[in-house]
Amino acid sequence: MFFSNANNHKNKNMFMKKLFLLTAIIIAGFSFAIAQKSITGKVTSKKTGAPLPGVSVIVPGTGKATQTDANGNFSLSNVPANSKITFSFIGYKAFESNLPAGNSLQIEMDEDARELSEVVVTALGIRRTDKALGYSVAKVDPDALLQKSEPDVLKGLQGKVAGVDIRSGQGTPGAATRIQIRGNNSFFGNSQPLIVVDGVPFSNDQVTTSNQASGGGAYSSGIANLDPNDIASMNVLKGSSAAALYGSRASNGVIVITTKSGSAKRTKGAEISLKSSVSTEEIANFPEYQNEYGAGSQFAYSNANGSWGPAFRNRDSIPAWPSYKAAYPELFPSANIAYRPDPGNVESVFRRGWVYENSVSLNGGNEKSSVGLTASHLNHKGYVYNSSYNRANVGLGASAKLDIGLNVSGNFSYARSHQEGGFFGENQIGGAASSFARTLFLARNWDYSLPFEDKNGLPLQHNVTGYDHPRWSAKYNTNNTNEERIVAGVHADFNINKWIRLDYTFGSNVASLDRREVTEIGSRAAAGLGRLILDNYRKQELESNFLITVSPRINDDFIVKAIVGNNVNQRTITNTTQTGSQFITKGIHTLGNTSQQQFTTDFYSRQRIIGLFGDVTVSYRNFAFINGTVRNDWSSTLPVENRSYLYPSVSGSLVFTDAFGIKSNWLDYGKVRAGWAKVGRDASPYSLEDVYTINPNFLGIPSATLPNTANSPDLKPEFTQELEIGAQLSFFKRRAEIDVTWYDRKSTNLIAIITTPASSGYGAKVTNFGGISNEGVEIDLTVRPVRTKDINWEVHGIFTKNKNIVTSLTGGVERIQAAGVIAGINPYFEPGMPYGYLRGTVSARDDEGNLLIDPVTGWMIQADDEQFIGNPNPDWKLGVTNTLTYKNFSLGVLWDMTKGGDMYSVTVNSLMGRGVTKDTRDRETSWIIPGVYGDPNDPGQPLLDGGGKKIPNHTAITTNDLYFSAGGPSGSFAINSSTEWQIFDATVYRLREVTLGYDLPKTIFNKTPIKGIRVSLSGRNLWHEAPNFPRYTNFDPEVNSFGATNVQGIELSAAPTTRRFGFNVNVTF
């Protein structure tokens, strides 16, 4: 919950003290009541001198209270003598005054950074005090994301926010990161939170041009073009209660971001800050290779992929690689070459990567107007040759208060990014050419100092073919994406009188992407003839919000605030994809240079929502709060009779330490809260009526087909309900603070596509069915063991546990496939089972659980049916940040861990199956797989001896056979085995982030305009241990081949994670 910096702590401490003081005064107030008089006065801002409207003016112990009017004036009558008057206002230090001698009082209130931070921006930009929240909202300090050698905003959040699950994709620059709040709530649709930037939804789509199982790129998602340097505040609305006002898309939680440029404060003066960082990166987890055996099988040399050949000590030469000898005969004067290891061959495929980030931001203004500007540039060169991500951002915002009392503000930002990278996926799929096909498991004797292309620029591989040389692939098979995003918004607000305020926001967020996927002539993909895929995607989102806020005065104890509003949202997507095949001439990558073209996609969709909503908050004496919301949506995507739907929420909080006047030495502050909400959600556009699709011509004849998915004319909205209960406690003068939340979220009657058997005629049908539940606990704990003048030590821990279960499907359906990944392993939904659990092929076992062994081969027999083989959802996550400050130095260390969650890994399977790591080094032995003989014709049936007894396996196999089996119905433990053997428990411990910062003494620059200089060193992903993967594979389960999609726990030759070291400078003027 708290992302506090040192400053914050101090302020919080003061706030707590005041709370006690206040309570004490209230109690004391009862004992004195003598003479009375009337008071009038005016409250102004100490800093700007402007009058402050809406300040609470309370005479403690008397029940007397009022608010200042638009001109900052207030009046109170019959105030008892000896009373004190307290003034409180959001964003200002509470002020307490004795009664004046006369009848008038002038008060200047001081701004309070501490109090400001207690204001939480909730749904639709509504600000509430932390106390008043009946649900959990995490505030992220933007400083926690910056200058940490991590250019990705979401990755920067890892280990820092309770209740949030962040998973990386590929380890190459710009690759999408998946964020999830409190689990998956949707079967197939997007389960990622809604991201709202300056009041307008910010599309976070991952545009997938080519299937990521068979050669797609490390695609980024929309949030990548958000400039982290421009973030002024980030609030994570985790639960439905917090997000209910956003309606339809809030069921996955909401991240509310306010940019610096879009929220410039109207304060005097100007601030300029410069941030600059440089980091270097490398692969975090090279496997440890064996260098004793080269290519071949069963200790015999062959020009193979696997390193199961003879020991280097036993053979001194091999025939020269035929492809190399043909391409460069001059390099191979004799028929044979030395048989020796190239221990560094895998490392030689990569380079050192660099990340450069520079940003300047400027804020300034006066009491009437302000302007904010942020400009940033990121240049990230990945460790894979030709992989990079460049981004430039400019954000500008301004606000002004007009003389008629109207506040207007506007913001505009432009982002442009360019991502360059290769292709990934499962190389075994026909027509695929993964750049990581063999990269991490090169045969140990392959000499990688040799060229990767022949004299004509065609790829060369040691064993002829089967994959593209990784360096050739990096150079020629490229996936380039340009993205542009324009965000523009206007806001106006106006106080009609002291208790009615109008707010209007209109914004547009347009993201457009154009991508070129080039497969060069000579690649194993595209039949070796070359291919160009052009993808153009544009998403425009328009959002209009009109709010009327009414805060009438009821009496001194109760404060009521009511909001009614209207929201109109429109989303439009256009997407065209064109494929050109067979380059006419090599090296020119245009459609015109291809001899066959196809319009693959020409997609358009538009949807609209109109919402009307109300929100009422009642607070009692500033310690008890209740909030209720109701919203009705009308969606264009639902059938006319079902398009209107209504959903309410209610939440409340009680600061019980205030309410019951609890004073103790150990408990400073205590608040309990509870919330319940229901959120409705509509369908995707065009889900009601079936359409035909037009196919490419065949033999020159036009043709069409019915679609794979059958639509339904009778869809209804789906609903998610959530109950959450939480508490915030502070102990021993804030030596320890804890925030605990339990939630139970249930989504029912989901609009989803149900997988139907092919025999029904369709692969899927859109319908309402099923249920998903997420139940979990979030704990945020801060402990401050040392707090002295010079040394401060703070430990901040977060704990997230979420249980994501599919509660029901539809009548008679046992399970449905969540996505088609590859044969033998796919994610599934099944009632009572974890969301998207992995189901795949298993080895047959007898009734006692013994493995059944084929007596002929000595390998395990594959069962006919697929079974549960893994649950990709982690059991829990823990992050612990230690912050130690000593004078001008500060040290931050973040450890985190993920317990459980299974992963299917092609990388590990290949490392083992190809015999390249030290795991399989000791191989001059044979093995007997423990089990009993079984009948390969009838998997599951053991073979019996004459006496009717099972026969223990005694067929020995080699180490080679243990990890590499021929195809067919029996298999061993790695290549060509049942997929259950490639599933590993993905528990991982990690030293995520280390930062050492130093604030230069002011004396150095006190004659310059510089206000502060901070330098820091940062390290990222410095160490990890995933104990349940084979030891020498060093596998880091924090990769995922499917980026920001719902398919998790599957790694298909993904690019490994990175380790970075950086140096950062931050100068403020």
């Binding site: 002829v464 358009y604 033999l699 020159g700 036009p702 005629g761 369709y762």
Partner: protein
């Protein structure tokens, strides 16, 4: 107060804006402007025909049934799951044809266009019948019958009566008894013929070039339909007396009776669109897994000691393309498992050390006739996407097939006739059809000599007929079925049916001590030019016994609660098996 009044005016205004916004115009935008809700049946027909071919083809990329069945019929060998009869229902080579046959569009995600047959056929039948365009309905019914006959033959019980009825509310079709499905196919074909012959129908839309098979030629469709019936009756002859029905068909004279009447799915070259036979994929596959079976090769070469011994088949360079020449070392720098001069392959059931060695640019491939690949003129070049046009059709039933069916029926005593003449005609037609396919569709860039009339062909046929004349009744049946098997290379569904129905041709059995003494097979001892006189014998094994049916698509079983448990392919019998 003035302010308050303003507000009072404002609140209804907001409500008004929203209410009027809810008006139809603003929210009634949920119609996809880019895809049609209705198309003419003539646009759907080509999709179904082409996809039927794809689903049955040798396709090793997206999966065609022949990719498995050619291995089970021992014309192809592979390292993939089909080896040792190990195919499981989880394999895409089963799942994709299953989905192609039943669905409207099979699950996307593959690089190749994947559409569906039966759902689209049902759509044609429904719309064409409503519109009175009965020729389309007739063609669709015949294609539907053909598709179901294949599904039943290879899988046994399959969804039929409740299949393709999702729009009528059946999400999970039951599996029907295979015999009952067959019973329903004959009337379905008759309905199709009746629709084609219906002269009172409006037929405002008549099939033309959109009918890829017969370009709307009704007479040929009727012949194809009748020949399909002949095939289906022959298929069930062991469990039912079908003499009367078959005699009636033959007497009618309305069967496929000429080379150009063959019932095939045409393919084209890689032109404006990629129209190639999916079996051609091997030519540009990144990892070639379709090997030509040594068993098949040896019979073609006349090496098999039991049949056609010493009678080399002149179709060899049309059937098989060798990337190597007779003396060249493996281009991949690896030891071969099976080598006979230019011919390189691996054995079915092999567990030999050289089986898995890369031979990408050295193995022999199916040639110009089965897949539109390269005619083997001895050039010994590496096969690639430019080695052929890929424009060879997938043959459903040819005139030669009809003649072989009759020869089988005569030999089995179901009908009467001169079996020798029938077999001779069938073999002659088989050679003729190779020439026809190459000139009519493949249209190669290289020059390919004609088989018809070649002396070697005459010599070959004479020798076969001599062997036939001397053979026992049983051997006669073996020769008929073996010739049919040789003739139908590339279209393996009927080969698999024939083997299960008649036991012929004899297929390689690694467990048979006569074929693999001591569990070893011996490639031609001097076949390897690199190590003459030293070609190693190869250990072979079987994991499972011969599969009597293919396992059902596992995805279907997983997603259909009305599906049975997965079968044991080694013991599951299709109803027509004795």
């Amino acid at each position: 107060m003035i302010m308050l009044r303003k507000i009072k005016n404002l609140i209804p205004l907001v409500a008004l804006v929203s209410a009027s916004s809810c008006e139809k115009n603003f929210l009634d935008i949920n119609t996809d402007p880019n895809n049609p809700t209705a198309v003419e049946v003539s646009k759907i027909l080509p999709t179904t025909q082409r996809t039927l071919g794809d689903a049955l083809s040798l396709d090793e990329n997206n999966g065609g049934l022949s990719n498995v069945l050619a291995v089970y019929a021992h014309q192809m060998s592979t390292r993939e799951e089909a080896d040792k009869y190990g195919m499981t229902g989880a394999d895409p080579v089963i799942a994709t044809p299953w989905a192609k046959l039943y669905s409207a569009t099979a699950n996307p995600g593959t690089s190749f266009p994947v559409y569906g047959v039966l759902q689209n056929l049902e759509d044609i039948i429904k719309n064409a019948t409503e519109e009175g365009n009965l020729r389309y309905a007739g063609i669709a019914k015949i294609l539907k019958a053909y598709s179901y006959s294949v599904l039943t033959d290879v899988f046994g019980d399959v969804p039929f009566s409740e299949a393709n009825k999702l729009k009528e509310g059946v999400l999970y079709p039951k599996f029907d008894d295979d015999g009952a499905i067959y019973d329903a196919l004959f009337p379905l074909i008759d309905e199709g013929i009746a629709d084609l012959n219906n002269t009172t129908a409006a037929n405002t839309l008549r099939p033309g070039t959109d009918d890829l098979i017969y370009a709307g030629n009704v007479a040929r469709w009727v012949k194809a339909a009748n020949t399909l019936k002949l095939k289906l009756y022959t298929q069930i002859r062991k469990v039912k007396n079908v003499s009367a029905e078959i005699n009636a068909l033959i007497t009618s004279g309305n069967l496929i009776s000429a080379t150009n009447e063959m019932f095939v799915i045409p393919y084209g070259p890689n032109g404006a669109t990629d129209d190639r036979n999916p079996g051609f994929f091997t030519y540009y596959a990144t990892q070639r897994s379709n090997h030509v079976s040594p068993w098949f090769y040896e019979i073609l070469k006349g090496y098999n000691p039991n049949i056609l011994t010493g009678n080399p088949d002149p179709r060899l360079p049309y059937y098989i393309y060798n990337q190597l020449n007779a003396t060249q070392a493996s281009r991949d720098g690896n030891q071969t498992e099976y080598r006979d001069g230019p011919f390189v392959s691996i054995y079915f059931g092999s567990v030999g050390p050289d089986r898995d060695r890369t031979q990408q640019n050295s193995i022999s491939l199916f040639g110009i006739y089965p897949v539109g690949g390269k005619y083997d003129d001895g050039s010994a070049t590496i096969a690639d996407a430019n080695s052929g046009t890929g424009a060879s059709p997938y043959r459903l039933i040819t005139y030669a097939d009809r003649l072989y069916l009759e020869a089988e029926l005569i030999q089995a005593g179901v009908i009467t006739g001169d079996v020798t003449a029938k077999l001779n005609a069938a073999i002659q037609e088989s050679f003729k059809q190779v020439d026809y396919v190459i000139t009519q569709w493949v249209k190669p860039a290289q020059s390919v000599p004609a088989l018809t009339g070649a002396a070697a062909v005459t010599a070959y046929i004479n020798k076969v007929m001599t062997e036939f004349a001397a053979a026992s009744a049983q051997k006669k049946m073996e020769i008929i079925m073996t010739q049919k098997w040789l003739s139908s290379v590339g279209s393996s569904v009927d080969q698999y049916n024939d083997i299960r129905r008649t036991g012929y041709p004899v297929i390689f059995n690694p467990g048979d001590p006569a074929m693999a003494p001591g569990g070893f097979v011996q490639p031609p001892i001097n076949g390897d030019p690199v190590n003459p006189g030293a070609q190693k014998r190869v250990p072979v094994q079987l994991s499972r016994t011969f599969a009597l049916a293919l396992p059902w698509d596992q995805t279907e079983l997983e997603s259909n609660p009305n599906a049975p448990a997965q079968k044991n392919p080694s013991s599951y019998k299709v109803f027509w098996m004795p």
